[in-house]
């Protein structure tokens, strides 16, 4: 499967980045560019959807960690959607399953980010 990466706006300061195919040395720079663009565009809560990714490597992990470092100071979070046991194993081996919240489906990831975002931005009505 050819590598593709697409983004969709989840409203407010959340976005999802959908990755298809193999992410490695040759394609990770493109993922990095897209993630950087999304974060620069104001997204602090980002779901990286790896449901249709067929391979990731240490370069990919580096790109994801880079994104975490960008959003953390802003109070944001990167969540991962992935149900491929092989890919999940890579997160486990490197202990990064403790850094990213990983979900089986994108919907669960989005729900999680919405929860976190709501906690981050309590809907306080203006005083007065």
């Amino acid at each position: 499967m050819d590598f593709r990466v697409a983004t969709s706006d989840l409203g407010k300061d959340a976005s999802s980045v959908v990755v298809t195919g193999e992410v490695d040395l040759s394609t990770a720079p493109e993922l990095k560019e897209v993630l950087t663009g999304v974060i620069d565009g104001g997204a602090r809560f980002v779901l990286v959807d790896l449901s249709d990714a067929t391979f990731i490597d240490s370069t990919t992990l580096g790109v994801l960690m880079g994104a975490v470092k960008r959003v953390r100071p802003l109070g944001g979070e990167i969540a991962i959607a992935c149900d491929d046991p092989n890919i999940r194993k890579i997160f486990e081996i490197t202990l990064l399953d403790r850094v990213f919240a990983i979900f089986d489906t994108p919907d669960e990831g989005i729900a999680h980010l919405r929860d976190v975002a709501r906690v981050e931005h309590p809907d306080v009505s203006p005083a007065g």
């Binding site: 040395l25 490597d57 240490s58 580096g62 890579i90």
Partner: protein, 245 residues
């Protein structure tokens, strides 16, 4: 042919240990000179190095020896890759072609992943113009994988920065392989890994004794440090040799 004491010094083990290995396990079978001293050729030294790498990882010497490919591999693959960003992908495709199924539970994911990581390291930290060589041997129960960058030794400093972006390749290999070693010289660096693999069956996931979630073990860090030292020494030797001529 070289003499035992000399080799023991080079490998940093007691001559008595090497004698013991030969007496007890017959590894490696040494030849004797007229005075009965043990002599080893380059292949035997390489074999000793390989056993030592396993022993350093906690394997017992006789098991390290037994695990060595005693018979010819069932199948093998030899690739020469241009050091470019598409090299890891090419390596993965060649590996999955050789091992059969590229999808489903039989996908040899660990092998693809380790091959990909090693080739990536060779692209990123090796020579930018000389080819990368990948050798893969399928044995009953495991795979022997060797990736060499040619032309110049790998830049170990980059390789060692395990926590930097993309620097988790060795950590991944460390978790998936039974054992691995780095051999570095002036003309290149070879990383060898032995990965559990059952032909035709579902991939047996490597489960390291201490489980996932361990950072690179101290021994693997030590292996990199040793390789780095050897690299410096080799460069030093080369310089000395050059001066002599």
């Amino acid at each position: 042919m070289r003499e035992l004491g000399n080799i023991a010094r080079e490998l940093g083990v007691d001559a008595a240990t090497l004698r013991q290995w030969e007496r007890q396990y017959g590894v490696p079978p040494a030849q004797r000179d007229v005075r009965g001293r043990r002599l080893y050729d380059d292949r035997q030294v390489a074999e000793l190095r390989r056993i030592l790498a396993f022993v350093e990882l906690g394997e017992r010497a006789h098991l390290a020896h037994v695990q060595k490919p005693a018979t010819a591999p069932l199948r093998c693959l030899r690739l020469r890759l241009t050091p470019a960003s598409d090299a890891p992908g090419r390596a993965r495709r060649a590996v999955s072609e050789l091992l059969g199924s590229s999808n489903g539970p039989e996908r040899p994911f660990s092998v693809e992943l380790v091959a990909s990581e090693l080739v990536k390291n060779a692209v990123v930290y090796g020579s930018r113009s000389d080819p990368i060589e990948l050798d893969l041997e399928v044995h009953q129960g495991w795979i022997e994988l060797r990736v060499s960058n040619t032309g110049a030794p790998m830049r170990m400093k980059g390789l060692r920065r395990t926590r930097r972006a993309g620097g988790r390749g060795l950590e991944i290999m460390d978790a998936l392989a039974w054992g691995w070693s780095i051999d570095t010289g002036p003309l290149g660096t070879t990383i060898s890994a032995r990965i559990p693999f059952v032909e035709g069956g579902a991939e047996r996931l490597a489960s390291p004794a201490n489980g996932y979630g361990t950072r690179m073990t101290r021994t693997s860090r030590a292996a990199i440090a040793t390789a780095e030292r050897r690299q410096v020494e080799n460069v030093g030797d080369g310089a000395r040799r050059a001066r002599k001529h």
